[in-house]
């Protein structure tokens, strides 16, 4: 029987140009003409012929050192990056959890920022209106919601961002080292909420440096090294080898 995969990577290769004549400016290009010409051809292969697939409702933890290509992998799933070779198939709506303050404007109020951010994440105005009270309630920012965002602390902004995200319709949630922010109590609350979303059958991709968090949340794990999948499978097995390596 063919399984119903929600995410499939087929022989995916992704590279970045090492040097970009245009964005570096013409002046430096002309000044280092000889080097520049050689650098032009160079590229950095970040993911090298990678294949794996994930079923709906699974939670995948992604491991690997800095620069291993974890964020690149997430970008490919989100559809903001495109593979140079191979195919990425994603069925369903992807929700990337944003880093601190992304998509917010400091001059707008908390409420205005909810509308702005939720629209960017794919919701229509009517849907947002239906849910805005729940969003504000979860964020515990009732007293500040009509103040401009520049008066918020970074903890408050994190709370607002997280609260918006969890009320967005989605099938796949991407968490890129995102839960390590905000105050401890809200971190706990967020983690609970993510577990709840997982129970509801959402697929979650979770990048974290903390093996314990991955173990708590994920059923599977993928370990990236030198552009290849070093290991992929059951979370306990992968974590065991990973921790040994460290």
């Amino acid at each position: 029987m063919v399984k119903d995969y929600i995410i499939t990577f087929e022989n995916v290769t992704k590279w970045y140009p090492l040097y970009n004549v245009f964005s570096q400016g013409f002046k430096s290009f002309i000044l280092n003409f000889k080097n520049s010409l050689q650098n032009l051809k160079k590229k950095k292969v970040v993911l090298n012929n990678i294949s794996f697939s994930l079923e709906k409702g699974e939670c995948l933890g992604i491991l690997g050192r800095n620069g291993a290509g974890k964020s690149t992998l997430l970008g490919l799933i989100a559809g903001v990056l495109h593979p140079n070779k191979g195919k990425v198939k994603v069925k369903g709506k992807v929700l990337p959890l944003l880093e601190l303050g992304a998509g917010f404007h400091p001059e707008l109020t908390g409420r205005e920022n909810i509308f702005l951010n939720a629209t960017l994440l794919g919701m229509t105005k009517n849907k947002i209106k239906e849910r805005i009270d729940d969003i504000i309630k979860f964020s515990e920012l009732e007293d500040y919601i009509d103040q401009p965002l520049r008066t918020y602390s970074s903890g408050m902004i994190t709370r607002l961002a997280f609260s918006i995200s969890i009320f967005i319709d989605s099938d796949i949630i991407l968490l890129d080292e995102i839960l390590a922010v905000g105050d401890f109590r809200f971190q706990e609350k967020s983690f609970e909420k993510i577990l709840e979303l997982k129970e509801q059958g959402k697929t979650i991709i979770f990048v974290s440096h903390n093996p314990a968090d991955i173990k708590k949340l994920c059923s599977k794990a993928l370990w990236l090294e030198n552009g290849k999948i070093k290991m992929f499978g059951n979370v306990e097995q992968v974590l065991e080898s990973y921790v040994e390596m460290l």
Binding site: G75, V80, L81, A102, H105, L108, E112, L120
Partner: protein, 261 residues
Amino acid sequence: MKKNIINYYSLRYIWDLIVILTLKEIKVKYKRNLLGFFWSILNPLLLTLVFIIAFKGVLKIHINNYLLFLITGLFPWQWVTNVILSAPNILLSNASIIKKIKFPYEILPLALTLSEGIHFLLSLLVLIIIGLFYNLKPSINWLWGIPLLLLAQGILIYGLALIISSINLFFRDLERIVQVFMTMLFYLTPILYDIKHIPQKYIIFFALNPFFGIIYEWRTLLLKGYLDIKIYILYLLYSLLIFIVGLKIFRKLSKKFAEAL
């Protein structure tokens, strides 16, 4: 490509996104200070004053009612510069979301064009009020002429904003080039002078400037109360062409936005 976008996102959603991003631009522009609108009207008015001193007072140029003549060119031009000079940064300043979220990025330069367009519409009101003190005669033709010109100019500005915003990500020198180019274009567009001052044998080169016809039409419509339909259609088609080319370039480059930022 267009079809894809409509299928992928509902029209309702696209509309909501346009409205919210346009409102954001407007709010941000005027929120910082209550006098925001006042200041941005003051800018073309001060320019007007300077040009009156320079051209009427010093150079003794022969144009009747030079103040009215100037503001009917400078105000529409203000919409152009406000958008074009911000265009190189519109994607850069949204880097954090473009790197993470897939959404129709075309709407970012559109929101900029629309918000500045709304600002222009308000300044047009100020222009007309000032004009009334200087013998400006309102015309019934304004009712259809103004929307038509807004449309053509909006399409043209949006097309250029698409080109500039996307190419600037890969070729960061463009911002500087655009600044110089806009100053040159300002003097090559009949804003300070009239079309009839341009020597006949050069007029064809001046007319290649897509803003040539639009500024000319604004002035004839506001000062003389009519719109030259032939010229209008010609420059509308020109604007559409630039818009289509702009959309093609933007969409082609948009696949690489996230990694170029």
